[in-house]
Amino acid sequence: MAVSLSKGGNVSLSKEAPGLTEVVVGLGWDPRVTDGTEFDLDTSVFITGENGKVINDSSFIFYNNKTSADGSVEHLGDNRSGQGASDDEQVNVKLTGLAAEVKKLVFAVTIHEAEARRQNFGQVSNAYIRVVNKADGKELARYDLSEDASTETAMVFGELYRSGEEFKFKAVGQGFVGGLKPLAEAHGVSIG
């Protein structure tokens, strides 16, 4: 049974999905029907080491860097309007393929040019981000962005982190001011 992240807390994947090997992070929202610039939401993943910073610059997976060096994290493509049913953007994560030095994956969602466009998640209809067990399609956790991140423009959704032999998912659900660039820099990415 999926855990709704609006309630907060951690999700023990060992209970929700024993033996988890692959997850899909899915981002979805409805295209804008009212007048104005489209809502362009973006998923990103930071593959981090012991210190919470990216292993290297290519460990920042987003629309301009879709595959990690070891191929274990793959962004399936940028959706710029929300057109389409179900998840509009997906990032595939093969947990078993992650190098030993990878301690944590941080999942984030941002609104493209939010400040210039004066947009926030509350203006978008039915925006959500979720983690799905690839093996059986079961949703492990979901965050309702439109409802619970309404005045935010960027958010750290959650973290998948190693705990001994297994992975655990920690719901974060915290807004981040400033957009993708400061979010990336906070995780140790140098933006040229």
Partner: protein, 191 residues
Amino acid sequence: MALTLQKGGNLSLSKTDPTLSKILVGLGWDPRATDGAAFDLDASAFLLAANGKVRGEPDFIFYNQLKSPDGSVEHVGDNRTGAGDGDDEVIKVDLSRVPADIDKIAFTVTIHEADVRKQNFGQIGGSFIRILNELTGAEVVRYDLAEDASTETAMIFAELYRNNGEWKFRAVGQGYAGGLRALANGYGLNL
């Protein structure tokens, strides 16, 4: 002191005031002085089912259809209630009577004959929507629309909606350049 929302923000009415049952939705605006062509602004409400559309024409509450058949939503017209200052139009909602299959009520304002008169919301300032507790007269929440609407001729000011067994209020401030027709079509009404 009343709470204010920014665009996109939402608030649980049930949590803010658990006694809320009958509310007044007050809408107001200050048209700026133009070349003399009158602004004819009309507030309306759309009762929407889970699919975001009206169930039929009776779900569109406006100056020619002031009351929903179940009596839950009533457009009071231009009457000033005296419960506060500045409301140009008031729509009453009895939350306990809203039909179970209605998930959301959208509160909208349209400019009559906007195309012909070459008017839009960019010319209109001071727009706001607020909720008053009908029993006590107290203002519960308010959303002041910023003056960044330009080409819109029909605006969704806010939405009252059900979420997890509670009534919530969301500040929308988005609209259509296509006027009442585009707005109504968006809600499944073909005018």
